[in-house]
């Protein structure tokens, strides 16, 4: 497993207050390319902190984090921003879309920040919107969409630059059950297409149905890790095919 590890977290610790209890305490974790991993735990266990560290949104106080062969905890702010553009797509619980921009403009943003040519970026965005069945909303503003539709827009944005890694923090936490199931199926399909997935969730159903490995955190430490399942076959019917 370690030979094809996309993510390697080694003895990472993160404190928000000096002298206080670490939010993440000496965590080591590897994720292989193509894995779908759920990170679970009660509130305050360090799930989101761990995700933020892997995404480079925050820096650990101790330890190292290597993603796609690059040590990201020592990169400059510019370097880590470029890493995120290229390697890590982020999906948030409350979508984090920009209300002033249309759906299409929201999706285009990562490509525009990366300097992708306009025509190529628009083609890719349209492809994603169509694949996620929200192409008809391209000129709408996020405020007018349902929770499920907004999360699809966020997923499209996260996939815009074909990242090696998709990181989702409670992707179904702010949507209704039906929409949550749709999102879950979507993530499953993406993983089936080869997308590496790390999902933070407190929803055991989501974790069980849509991921193959569950890592549990308790007080900033890994309390259990189911590891890879024996059956690594791709689901028979992947309903969403997104070209990598």
């Amino acid at each position: 497993m370690t030979e094809d590890a996309l993510i390697r977290v080694t003895e990472v610790t993160k404190r928000y207050q000096s002298g206080g209890r670490p939010a993440v305490d000496g965590v080591s974790l590897t994720v292989a390319a193509g894995e779908a991993v759920a990170v679970m735990g009660p509130s305050g266990s360090g799930k989101s902190t761990l995700l933020n560290l892997i995404a480079g949104l925050d820096r650990p106080d101790e330890g190292s984090i290597i993603v796609a062969g690059r040590r990201i905890d020592t990169l400059s702010e510019t370097g880590v921003a470029r890493f995120r553009r290229a390697q890590a797509g982020m999906i948030f619980q409350f979508f984090n879309l920009l209300d002033d921009l249309t759906v299409l403009d929201n999706v285009l943003l990562p490509a525009q920040l990366a300097g992708v040519r306009r025509a190529a970026a628009r083609a890719r965005a349209q492809e994603l919107l169509d694949a996620l069945r929200i192409g008809q909303h391209r000129d709408a503003y996020p405020g007018r969409l349902s929770g499920g539709e907004r999360q699809r827009v966020a997923i499209a944005r996260a996939l815009m630059n074909r990242p090696a890694l998709l990181l989702a923090d409670e992707p179904t936490g702010a949507v209704d059950t039906a929409a949550g199931e749709e999102i879950g199926e979507l993530l499953l399909d993406l993983n089936a297409s080869g997308q590496t997935l790390v999902v933070v969730t407190h929803n055991p159903a989501l974790a069980g149905r849509y991921t193959r490995r569950v890592v549990r955190l308790m007080d900033g430490r890994i309390s259990s890790d189911t590891g890879r399942q024996a059956d690594d076959t791709v689901a028979d019917s992947a309903r969403v095919q997104v070209q990598p």
Binding site: R85, A86, Q112
Partner: protein, 799 residues
């Protein structure tokens, strides 16, 4: 009202918004300092003169009389005329040092530096019922051979203890300077014992004396003219040969400080408006950003009044601190400007009036209080639920259309997102525009003032057209010594024919010489004026000398003169009128054909105007104009080597005018302060904007925006308003310049040539239009950097 919780809320607000607290304090400090300076100059531009004139019993009128035409009894009777309230004199008087009389005043021995012509009056004591002369240093004359000087004779460069030698008189009298004094009436340049006047009168000069009068009605020029007419009619014909009104003296004295007033007031007003704008912006931003907090405060029991007090105080507390510091700074700026005036009036140390120090900070606090109160009331009136709901509700999608349009532009995405930013917050964008605009208007105004004042300085010294002046060493006092480049005629030493031929030969031989003209500077008496006027006469064509013309035309022959506004005012004449001058014992009628720019009482004319009366007239110097591109120092070196040690060539460009330098320094300082204030206003707006959009910034970072892209985006938030501000500010600044500059020079008693006012070139205007952008970007860079350095995770946690 329970003060403790309100105080805690205020302290909490101040410490949470440290940047804005500091911004308010600094902005109010700068504005208060400018306001104190403006008010002090306004108050003290004329008050010291009036105070000193009253305290020293200044003479409304100084009349020069011919004692041969009126007896002592007749002069004494003039004191009992109905309009006269007091009189003093006659004081014997004479003028020495005018070139035409061959009597010169020199510092040191007979070969010393030539000094300006000196009006001497004989006074046994400085005190009296009128014109109480104040001794500033030393003592009054006690013995023959002693002299007391007026404080500003030769710009105060002749100290107590100096020896003056009067050449050209029998015995070559020497006078020792024993004191420096100030006459509010400016009755003389120097005083000696009355018995000395006879010995110091140049041969052939008729005796004259001064009579000093105070009148019942002398408040206006017309009233003073009426008083002169009354006296002239009451005394035998020909007794009154000249008169000096105290209003002329006041105008010149007051102008020393008065010239500063218009532009300082302009800058002060800009500063006040900026302060009010920024304070209102900060407090309204705190209210809008703190809706949730206001709702929570209300839900725990804060009354609307307590909310209003808490938020108003968040503006008032730093403003009050800024006011106090601003008063000290304003006093510090005003003191050097007022000190010189105080010395000249002999009224001790002149400082900022206490009422200015008390009134200005109160006014500033009231202004900032109102600016803070209005938005604070907005927060106070909201219900708790409405406040919390307003604080938590998603922002309405304002600016969406702008985003759509700008996203189509072929520009980097951070730029287009930034440029669309102002449309989401139009009120805040307006504040940015106003702050940057006021700063840019101040810069535009200052650039114009700077250019105009430099033109004034060049115009006074003619340094762009008359680059070199050549004097004889005898005029300079010692080989190699350079005379002060003061008013022409200060040297009083004519060039001999041999010297003239030598100079003209050398000048003609230099290929860099474009023009040259011989120049004589003489003192003449003008009908109706108490003191002589300096006349500069040019031999040959002198139109190239480039005297700045205000109206009329350059003289075309003898009998025509150019004069400045001060002359026209003093003689109550206009271009086209004729005046009579006395020179070499002859009365010469001359016609005023043009008004030139000059702050002194001078006259320019053709050589023949004076030479027809005195064929032996010799030039004092040569004025030389050079071809473009000539090295001034190299030309001067050549002249020195060719002319030999008997002559001194001087570069006009070396002449400086202290008052103009002071003006330029003050303009530069005030402009910089206002530009900083404007940038602080922009900084404050960007800080509020980044705080409000911190979460969005986190999203941008999460999807891959680099720190440089974040800075670009934030700077572009203000770039649009900054550009618009510059476009609006330039015409405003130009209009302000066109209004203020003539007012400044009106205080100096002179008009300005149009060329001194129309000073903005096309490229200059384009450059100045970018000033708004520069100020806006300067204000945005710091908070942009802070925002770019914020960790993405922290930003995403912000609500």
């Amino acid at each position: 009202m329970n003060a403790a919780p309100v105080a805690r809320a205020v302290v909490g607000g101040l410490t949470r918004r440290r940047v804005q607290t500091v911004v308010i304090g600094l902005v109010v400090l700068i504005s208060t300092a400018a306001a104190v300076l403006a008010a002090a100059l306004l108050a003290e531009s004329s008050a010291p003169f009036d105070h000193a004139f009253s305290a020293r019993h200044g003479a409304h009128l100084l009349v020069v009389v011919d004692p041969a035409k009126a007896s002592a009894a007749q002069l004494a009777a003039s004191a009992r005329l109905p309009r006269v309230t007091a009189a003093a004199g006659p004081f014997a008087a004479t003028t020495i040092g005018a070139a035409c009389s061959r009597v010169t005043v020199r510092l040191g021995g007979p070969d010393g530096i030539g000094l300006e012509p000196m009006t001497l009056a004989g006074r046994a004591s400085p005190g009296g019922p009128i014109d109480d002369v104040v001794l500033l240093s030393g003592h009054w004359v006690r013995r023959p051979g002693q002299v007391v000087l007026q404080y500003d004779y030769m710009s105060g460069n002749v100290p107590v203890g100096s020896t003056l030698t009067v050449t050209g008189l029998p015995g070559t009298p020497r006078l020792k300077v024993v004191g420096i004094a100030a006459s509010i009436t400016r009755s003389a340049d120097a005083w000696v014992l009355p018995a000395e006047i006879g010995k110091l009168r140049p041969p052939g000069t008729p005796a004259s004396a001064q009579m000093l009068y105070r009148f019942r009605d002398a408040g206006t020029t017309a009233a003073v003219r009426g008083d002169i007419a009354t006296l002239t009619a009451a005394l035998p014909a020909g007794t009154v040969t000249g008169a000096q009104s105290y209003l002329t003296v006041k105008a010149k004295d007051v102008s020393r400080v008065g010239a500063y007033v218009p532009f300082v007031v302009a800058f002060g007003v800009i500063g006040l408006v900026l302060s009010a704008l920024i304070v209102a912006n900060v407090v309204s931003g705190a209210v809008v950003a703190g809706y949730s907090r206001i709702g929570i405060l209300k839900s725990i029991g804060f009354t609307p009044g307590q909310i209003i007090v808490a938020y108003t105080s968040q503006g008032l507390v730093p403003a009050a601190a800024g006011c106090l510091a601003g008063v000290l700074a304003g006093d510090g700026l005003a003191r050097p400007l007022l000190a010189k005036a105080a010395f000249s009036y002999g009224i001790g140390v002149l400082g900022v009036p206490a009422w200015v120090d008390a009134t200005v900070p109160v006014a500033m606090c009231c202004l900032t209080g109102v600016a803070a109160l209005l938005p604070a009331q907005l927060g106070g009136r909201l219900s708790a639920v409405a406040a919390i709901a307003a604080g938590r509700a998603p922002r309405a999608g304002r600016g969406c259309a702008a985003h759509r349009m700008l996203s189509r532009l072929p520009l980097p995405r951070p730029v287009t997102i930034g440029l669309a930013g102002p449309f989401a917050r139009p009120a805040r964008a307006a504040v940015t525009l106003a702050a940057a605009g006021l700063g840019a208007a101040a810069v535009t105004f200052a650039v114009g003032l700077n250019t105009s004042l430099n033109l004034v300085q060049d115009g006074i010294h003619l340094s762009k057209t008359v680059q070199v002046r050549i004097f004889s060493v005898a005029a300079c006092g010692a080989a190699g010594a350079e005379p002060m480049l003061g008013p022409p005629g200060s040297l009083g030493q004519g060039l001999t024919v041999r010297q003239q031929n030598a100079i003209e030969a050398v000048i003609r031989a230099q290929p860099q010489t474009l023009h040259s003209a011989a120049e004589a500077d003489v003192q003449v008496n003008v009908d109706g004026l108490a003191k002589p006027v300096l006349v500069t006469a040019y031999r040959g064509d002198a139109a190239w000398t480039g005297y700045p013309m205000i109206s009329g035309q350059w003289y075309t022959g003898p009998g025509q003169v150019e004069v400045p506004a001060r002359f026209l005012t003093a003689t109550d004449t206009a271009v086209g009128d004729t005046v009579t001058i006395s020179f070499a014992g002859r009365q010469i009628a001359v016609r005023i054909v043009g008004e030139i720019f000059s702050s002194d009482l001078v006259m320019i004319t053709d050589w023949r105007t004076l030479a027809n009366a005195d064929p032996g007239l010799d030039p004092d110097q040569y004025a030389v104009g050079l071809r473009t591109g000539t090295s001034l120092t190299a030309y001067r070196s050549v002249l020195r080597s060719k002319l030999g040690p008997g002559f001194v060539p001087i570069l006009s460009a070396l002449g400086v005018i202290t008052q103009i330098l002071s003006l330029l320094a003050l303009i530069g300082s005030l402009t910089l302060l206002l530009a900083i204030t404007a940038a602080l206003g922009v900084l404050n707006t960007v800080v509020m904007q980044t705080r409000e959009r911190l979460h969005d910034l986190g999203v941008f970072k999460a999807i891959g925006m680099t720190p440089r892209q974040a800075i670009t985006m934030i700077v572009c938030w203000v770039a649009g308003p900054g550009l618009a501000a510059g476009a609006l500010a330039v015409p405003a600044g130009i209009a302000l310049h066109r209004y203020v500059l003539p007012v400044m020079f009106d205080a100096l008693g002179t008009a300005l040539p149009v060329s001194f006012v129309n000073v903005y070139g096309s490229w200059e205007i384009i450059g100045l239009a970018l000033a708004g952008l520069v100020i806006a970007v300067a204000g945005a860079l710091l908070p942009a950097g802070w925002a770019a350095r914020t960790a993405a995770a922290s930003a995403l946690r912000a609500e």
